[in-house]
């Protein structure tokens, strides 16, 4: 079916939402570059995210090389990195730059833009029955601001003094003073400007997602009939819209401190032998502003993965998701609580102990909605008829990782225990499992599940299974032993442990972790090859609804054009989880309710 005929038919629209005129000739530029089609924008986010993920992952491989073998020299590293790896040995400044960029790239560019940007764009209109976003123009700008942010961040890798190197949390005064660290020179300004662009992108996207979900649902698609993916993406957008502006203000104040001589974060400082005039600022103020975004950010990363896993677990166990309303309620509870727990990152800053205790209570409260979600997922699987599609495997892996990483949060959220564990490898293990690897699993699940809809072809299954098994085994092998390093008090962000009597006994373990990390990285490359190869050469999708799913995206043509449905947008008559009801394998959302049908 050619796109031209699709565009002809978009005008037969009973809902009367006057759509853009598609009769004009689409050029390559308007179709693939400055496209306003939400599906194309989603793919742009996905491909950009994949490129960033390779870069961010590669950085971790390089700094793991240093941790594995602090004494070794690699001549090829000098060929690659020049004076950053003088004599084939990674310099400490550059080690810290790599750590910082690894965090920044993966948290913001991959797991925020790459994840939300891809799936909110792709799924919201398709699953709620809309022809596009509320504002396709802002949607396009959202991508291009992200692109601009990417270009600026990328350029910071090539300045002479190096990119930002104070950790992805960029705490001042370290990040405010060029004399304190070479990464705090021009690299830091570029980081801040890039993040400002990134926040603009995120806000344009978020506002669009919220207004689209609230206003553009098809007939019959009440809020309580929305798939959980949409609920999760909705709450994600709300979190982003309310918290990102706070980071923006924090970043702007930091830019002022850096370049205009203000003292928001600076007080009583002697750096590199120079006595600074700044007095009366508070370095801790920045941490409050940062974590007011920083903590919701964790859920911005996690909620889309939760939503997609819920959907995929239900479809592939041929059962309704258990406790739909409880799932929505717990998403809502997590969203509210996400705003009230930021200071649990600051228990050892000298925070007022009473204030700390309030944050302990609110933090551990999050475990309740999280527990509800886990038990509901387990009950969804119970007495199912489970098909192990690659997407399903990753969704199951997501649940396993979410449990493992979520439980260690109970250690860290309890301030007394956090005194010992704060800023150790225990924290690294915790957040890499629960927010890093788990959301990556959600993202992979999403890619494997919706790839046929995105590209009209399948990914190679064998490669997918190899990808899954190596990744989940590898992820546990990498991060599980790190808990023990953390319990021994081994601090984060150390370039070399060999001079420490207390930490040097983990040398061989660090070597082991690095080797596994490299294997896992190699397997991700295999996934990327599979991804790009299959766009053109994958097995063609012949079935309109390959997973026998209920949601609306599978009622569109194999390769939907701009506008999604050639004819009328289907009307919705039921919730999306009627699997195995009344002896029928599945009943799609657009099937009218039969007279003799039982109620759920």
């Amino acid at each position: 079916m050619s796109t031209a005929t699709l565009h002809e038919t978009t005008h037969h629209d009973t809902h009367g939402d006057a759509h853009h005129d598609h009769h004009h000739q689409e050029t390559f530029i308007t179709k693939y570059v400055f496209s306003q089609d939400h599906k194309t924008i989603a793919k742009q986010f996905l491909v950009t995210g994949i490129i960033w993920a390779i870069i961010g992952g590669l950085f971790s491989v390089i700094f793991r090389l240093q941790l594995a073998n602090p004494e070794a020299t690699y001549p090829w590293l000098e060929d690659l990195l020049g004076h950053w790896a003088q004599g084939g040995k990674l310099q400490p400044e550059f080690y810290y730059a790599l750590v910082t960029m690894h965090g920044t790239i993966l948290v913001f560019f991959v797991l925020t833009a790459g994840l939300s940007g891809t799936f909110a764009n792709f799924l919201i209109p398709l699953q709620i029955g809309a022809r596009d976003m509320a504002s396709p123009m802002l949607n396009m700008l959202s991508y291009w601001f992200f692109f601009l942010a990417s270009v600026i961040m990328m350029s910071s890798l090539f300045v002479q003094t190096g990119p930002a190197s104070g950790g992805w949390t960029i705490y001042p005064p370290l990040s405010a003073l060029g004399d304190a660290s070479s990464g705090s020179k021009i690299g830091m300004d570029l980081w801040l400007v890039s993040m400002a662009m990134f926040i603009v992108s995120s806000l344009l996207g978020g506002l669009n997602y919220i207004s689209t979900i609230l206003n553009m649902r098809t007939k019959g698609m009440s809020m309580t009939r929305m798939p959980l993916t949409i609920w999760a993406l909705f709450f994600t957008a709300v979190l982003g819209v309310l918290s990102f502006p706070v980071l923006l203000s924090g970043a702007i104040l930091l830019l002022f401190d850096r370049n205009l001589g203000t003292s928001f974060y600076l007080s009583d400082i002697v750096v590199a032998g120079k006595i600074l005039p700044n007095e009366g600022g508070s370095a801790i103020l920045f941490q409050h502003l940062f974590w007011f975004l920083g903590h919701p950010e964790v859920y911005i990363i996690l909620l889309p993965a939760m939503g997609m896993s819920s959907e995929i677990l239900s479809v592939n166990s041929r059962k309704p998701i258990f406790g739909y309303m409880a799932m929505v309620g717990s998403l809502f509870a997590i969203t509210i609580l996400a705003f009230l727990v930021w200071a649990h990152h600051m228990f050892v800053t000298g925070l007022n102990p009473f204030l700390g205790s309030v944050f302990v209570l609110l933090t551990l409260l999050i475990a309740v909605p999280s527990a509800i979600k886990v038990f509901n997922w387990l009950t969804t699987l119970w007495k199912g008829n489970i098909r192990f599609t690659p997407a399903m495997m990753f969704a199951i892996g997501f649940v396993s990782l979410f449990i493992s990483g979520g439980l260690t949060g109970i250690f860290l959220g309890n301030s007394a225990l956090d005194i010992h564990l704060h800023d150790t490898y225990f924290v690294i293990a915790h957040f890499h499992i629960v927010m890093g690897v788990a959301s990556f699993f959600g993202m992979f699940a999403g890619v494997y599940h919706w790839y046929p809809k995105m590209f009209g072809r399948y990914l190679n299954n064998t490669l997918a299974y190899i990808h899954f098994w190596v990744t989940i085994v590898g992820a546990y092998l990498i991060f599980w032993p790190m808990h023990y390093e953390g319990l021994a008090g081994m601090p984060r962000r150390y370039y070399d442990f060999s001079n420490w009597e207390s930490f040097k006994m983990f040398g061989s373990l660090n070597q082991f972790i690095s080797i596994v990390a490299m294997i896992v990285f190699a397997v991700q490359i295999l996934f990327v090859i599979n991804f790009f190869y299959s766009i053109w050469k994958g097995r063609k999708v012949k079935d309109l609804n390959p997973w026998n799913a209920n949601t609306l995206e599978w009622t569109t043509p194999l390769r939907p054009g701009h506008g999604n449905w050639p004819g009328d947008i289907p009307e919705v008559h039921r919730w999306p989880y009627d699997y195995s009801k009344d002896g029928k394998d599945f009943i799609a959302q657009d099937v009218p309710v039969g007279a003799d049908e039982s109620k759920h």
Partner: protein, 354 residues
Amino acid sequence: MKEFYFIAIVVIVFVVIFQIAKASEYVSVLKGEEKSRKQNNKINAFLMIAFLVFGLFGAWYCNELYFSKTLFPQGSASVEGEKIDLMLYITLAVTGSVFIITQVLLFWFVFNYQEKDGQKAFYFPHNNKLELLWTTVPAIFLTVLVVFGLKYWFKMTAPAPADAVVVEITGHQFAWEMRYPGTDGKLGKKNYKLYNQPSGNTLGVDFEDPESWDDLHTTEMHLPVGKSVKLVINAMDVIHDVGLSHFRMKMDAVPGIPTTMWFTPKYTTEEMKKRTGNPNFVYEISCDQMCGKGHFSMRGVIVVESEADYKNWLAQQKPEYLTFYPEKDPTNKKTETVDSSMVSTPIAQTVSMK
């Protein structure tokens, strides 16, 4: 050349895996896609349960290998830290059992309810009783953890005992410096603008304040065993963090905002050498907050010793004031007057800055 072979091998492995994967696709078409899908399903279901078994075994094995290397078998080196160890064990018991139950259920369910011919999934959209159960049970467990946690938290963050030994510790890129209050028990005033590197007044001590005259400035921290210690924590340049993992203590050093923490060392360094069986054992101060390129080398040492040894060590230290103004030193009468005038010059400059 070695690199070239390495890259070549990696590429070949990739190509081989890719070709096998491609071939498997054709094989599945020949065999019938439905049949090969079912076969894959069986294999993966089996791998899931195998993953559970090997995973639990792996977790046990990892514990065997590394638990002895954590700080918990040797116990906390501070009295207050014992509470943290107890908290850890309580939390570990609760989360450990939840971990095992949920992971076993997850992988058992996916294995047991794998797709079978003739098996029908059970339509089970919700059950309020069950949902209420797993809302309240976690809530109860968490209340217990919060109550314990906050009890200890308030104990540890309460003001230090009045008789605590006071030591000031200041972090700068990339080392720690200590200041002891001397015989008057009071630390002299400081002003960061009095900082003077050439003179050695690296802490910005105000020597016009008489309370500073008996203060000691050291690079090593000595502490008496069995007495509470209160650390007053400062930073000169960026945020650092005094990490004392053996004592289970940690507190940020923030420029412009002094912080404190207190604890009671239980064992001397010598006792710890025996307890840990490590003749090289030292209490180390690690910087636990990213502070720049030398962050990983910002190491300090604490020597915990008997009260007598501690007093002895204190007596050997010369007040910093006397290093700057040797003419005020009673043990230094009328000797080397030329030297003393040289040393005092930078101080005069520093004071005049005010």
